[in-house]
Symmetry: C2
């Protein structure tokens, strides 16, 4: 049996993306998003809060998760600094970190809310994100230290970690055993990776192993499932509760399985990811279908209009699946990650990089937002236009940190094999070798990779969506072995491996149990799911039948990829509310755009799943 | 121009139904429902409350609308007594009425809640059903007086009406001008009809005319639309707000238009009913699509799973439309009534007459009721099984009173013409004539009517659903004139008029703007809408495509009418959550049952609108 940690990651900071989809999105993130998010956070008092000057009665009461916003912003900036030095980012980070250091207490404690708002509630409120904030600050500390060599924040967080260790793990004097919002567990593994101090790994392990072993609180309006505290983690078989929390937990479980060579923990992760991927995931990789609790519900409950599918949940699913790909190169892990990255995550950010979706529905009827004429307060439905900042603004700096570190998804290696999980055009400098990948993916399916002596074997992922591919070495047909979604091929030092994946636009259908999408079809090309908007096609998209047997035409698109033109049918209009059925089909052409690009041209009806003829 | 009150009603109590659909349902209502509802009301303290002995701290605090439940129960019993004397009903009514008389105050006031719970809030809380209760008691008083000749309750209510007149109309010393829940307006018209006191008509008129002329309160969480108080009633163009309140208002408007020969008021009613029938009504005649406010929303917003469509709203729509048929014999009025009666109303009561739906959705997935695994409290969705009583139990005694007086829908007359609006097998004794109707409607479309000298002309409604019919007199083809949905035919004293309506099962489709039903079809036969349940057809009904071009077969049914068998297609099952589209259609047969009969065999998936091939 292979060890859990047989393979290693090639970290993103070894890769410089050259062009294409992710390079473009990185450029926007580092030139626009990072500053726009900073400005919004500044305006809303999130950075001011770090001065610890708030007093009761003043505006902008520091929220329980505000320093996590600052932390993810610093982490995003740090990742951008790995590729390109930007004095503006360094100055901003240093200023924020100075404030953090200044306000750390003697004993190591650092939390804004539980210092200026509820100082008597420290380590007492399980649901109130105290250790979650600590976790994000640890991630920021590790990232900023690696990017700049500056260890001020790392020192702060090491000192805070010591306090947490004492209070939670050693003395167990806190009012709760495990945090209501997971995050610190995976952050502690990062701390271990940076500092090599085993104790951090043990702390992470301690939090994970305590989870679900006892009832920790009365849970207010939610059940233990909400916090993934209904069972010990190894016994959890279905993805339950708040979907971001669940993913952060599973990430830490995968990290620990890897670091501690823990097979049963890995098996638990496989079971949970299988449940997500096979029963509880939208075609977009969005997860957490319910607004109530931002949560998973039950198998196959994937309603489109109300799809909550938080941006953070989709990206966290990708991050979890990436960890699984590292441990075990099974194609479906990277397939899940890819689905979430290109669709449910990237729909969370506007094309101009300035605004964000928290929720990413698969069907939008704008008029539903104000339909309750008799009510002052409308129903809570996903908004139809992205915003620059939210009161709970976790998604914007979360998506910027993933975009900035997207190359993490590309490579792992081990046993003389280079695993190529995701295709992006870029040059990787690693251990004295240059790995060069050339591709226009996902605009087309051709990829060229030269490992230049780094490995003797290459394993290229053949995505689930890919039905036909050709693999050549130096232009000649090559022998390869197909195993668990990867094509393994022996290579020489100067070999250029070419993978040519037929990237046809295709219709997909859902399991019959998914009642809201049953007997409907959705369109995809490669890893990208498409949708149609009224702005291109006129209203009443639910009244359109697409013809899944007709040819799908590629046409120029304005969102980085081709748009797709499909044959469809509408009924001729009639005034009556009801009429006897008539077979009435007027042929029309429907333009589909990438799902990630919806709502970039004003408010518009949008639909992913279409009825068909 | 015809006068508004050119035609007269033949009241239900002149008719004895002989057999068929409504006779069967009346028998169940008078042998089972009336006693079952009584027992549940007794158990829940609704009748005990009439002793006015409740004190703070005691259980069963009298709710603001409890006497309206008692009133509608008395009214139902009274209507049953018109057909068949039942000592048990009389005793129960008398006992309740004795309590009412006993607790009426010297000045005429009578209300349980505002005597024992909030005595200092009398006539101060617009939203709290005080005049609504008075209205239902007036209706009960009129009904019981007519059925039994006993005028105790009528005296009570005349005395109370005098107080209301003084406080509201003359002194205007109440804290509000018009009631938050309409009902007293139509009840006052009934009081006028029974007593012939014009003042009641003027009071009704006063309440109607004041409505919407000024902002009456701050409306809490609702807008003025909720109470139909956003505009003077003659200026209201769309059906807004709480759907039962809206219908009760419109009923009174129609009553006043009729009694006062008020053409503009009638025109307002036409506009409002048109908006309902053409933009805001489910295929079942259900109205009020939103749980929030039990209300209308916007045109075409007719979602199926969440359809609120209260039983009371459907039956009130029928009662409103019946008033419109009286004023002006236009077929679409009776078409609307018929749609609501056979479908959205009758789904409200179980086949055994014991239990009731408050909400009547058009699509049920039972698992949705408990899908919020992470939440202690589940989402509010329509229940999937009828209950015997509700905390707000308006629907049970409302449906019993309509079933007991259903023959009200049959005939109006005037200008030597007998208008036959709805078809039921029965004998009508009226003004010395016997009108005999023989039919198995809605099991089949054949009707025989003998007016026996009552009129020189008969106008038979040709329902909207009827595409072919034959009209004969004494077995011979007859000349008739078709006008506004009625076939006018001259008759002699002994003529037997036969109407033979081809009653094929047919598919109906919805306007493209109804996004939840667009490109779907529903099945109906005659006035009855059908649905399919998983108990007959297996689960995952949303994955079934029906074939609207295939033959529909009639087969024996267990719910009073034929069931229907249709050709349909399912996909073969597959495990994956998603797969590339395959044209995969396995032919199957689907059994449809009348919609009114759904959920009579345990919890089951149910669907009205089907995708089709």
């Amino acid at each position: 049996m292979t060890k859990m940690n047989a393979y290693k990651q090639i970290p993103f900071y070894n890769t410089k993306l050259s062009r294409g989809y992710w390079k473009n999105r990185q450029d926007i993130a580092s030139s626009v998003s990072i500053f726009s998010v900073y400005d919004r956070f500044e305006e809303t008092g999130r950075f001011e809060a770090l001065k610890f000057e708030w007093k009761p009665g003043m505006p902008n009461e520091p929220h329980i998760f505000w320093e996590s916003d600052a932390a993810k912003w610093i982490e995003s900036a740090a990742y951008m600094l790995e590729t390109k030095y930007d004095e503006r980012l360094v100055e901003k980070c240093d200023a924020l970190i100075d404030l953090m250091e200044e306000h750390q207490e003697e004993n190591g404690y650092f939390n804004i809310h539980f210092t200026v708002v509820e100082p008597d509630q420290r380590f007492k409120k399980r649901t109130d994100h105290e250790l979650y904030c600590a976790g994000h600050l640890m991630e920021a500390a590790c990232a900023y230290y690696h990017a700049t060599g500056k260890r001020k924040l790392l020192d702060v967080m090491e000192k805070y970690a010591e306090l947490i260790d004492k209070v939670f793990c050693k003395e167990q004097s806190a009012a709760f055993l495990t945090p209501g919002h997971e995050e610190i567990e995976l952050a502690l593994v990062k701390m271990y990776n940076v500092t090599k101090k085993e104790r951090y790994l043990e702390m992470a392990s301690w939090f994970i192993e305590q989870r679900g072993r006892q009832i920790e609180d009365t849970y207010g309006s939610v059940t233990p499932e909400y916090h993934q505290s209904h069972l010990p983690v190894r016994e959890q078989k279905t993805a339950e509760g708040h979907s971001v929390r669940a993913m952060y937990l599973y990430m830490a479980m995968a990290d620990l399985a890897y670091e501690k060579n823990d097979k049963t923990l890995f098996d638990a992760c496989v079971t949970l990811l299988k449940n997500v991927a096979e029963k509880r995931m939208y075609i977009t990789g969005g997860i957490g279908s319910a607004r109530q609790g931002e949560a998973f519900t039950v198998d196959y409950d994937l309603q489109n209009i109300t799809a909550y599918t938080e941006t953070c949940a989709a990206l966290a699913l990708a991050l979890f699946a990436r960890r699984m790909s590292l441990i075990s190169p099974e194609g479906w892990f990277a397939d899940v990650a890819e689905r979430a990255l290109y669709n449910g995550m990237m729909s969370g950010i506007s094309m101009d990089g300035k605004s964000f979706f928290y929720e990413n529905p698969l069907e939008i009827h704008p008029y539903l937002l104000t339909r309750h004429v008799s009510q002052k307060r409308q129903e809570e439905l996903p908004i139809t236009q992205r915003l620059e900042v939210f009161s709970c603004s976790c998604c914007p700096p979360n998506i910027t940190r993933v975009i900035a570190s997207i190359a993490d998804f590309m490579y792992t290696y081990g046993e003389d094999t280079l695993f190529v999980h995701h295709y992006m055009d870029g040059v990787t400098d690693f251990e004295g070798h240059k790995i060069v990948m050339k591709t226009d993916y996902p605009a087309c399916g051709r990829v060229e990779i030269a490992a230049n002596g780094f490995a003797k074997r290459m394993a290229l992922r053949i995505p689930l969506w890919c039905r036909r591919f050709a693999l050549t070495v130096n232009g000649k047909e090559a022998k390869y072995e197909l195993k668990s979604g990867y094509a393994y091929i022996d290579i020489e030092k100067d070999d250029v491996v070419s993978l040519d994946m037929a990237m046809e636009a295709k219709w997909v259908e859902a399991n019959r149990k998914v009642f809201d999408s049953a007997q409907k079809v959705a369109l995809y090309r490669g890893p990208v799911v498409y949708c149609a908007e009224a702005v291109d096609n006129g209203e009443d998209l639910c009244d359109v039948l697409v013809d899944p047997r007709a040819e799908i035409k590629l046409t120029e698109g304005e969102f980085g990829l081709n748009d797709l033109l499909v044959t469809a049918y509408r009924r001729s209009d009639f005034d009556a509310l009801y009429r006897d059925y008539e077979c009435d089909r007027q042929e029309t052409t429907l333009r589909f755009i990438p799902y990630y690009a919806f709502a970039n041209r004003g408010e518009s009806e949008m639909l992913v799943w279409f009825k068909h003829c």
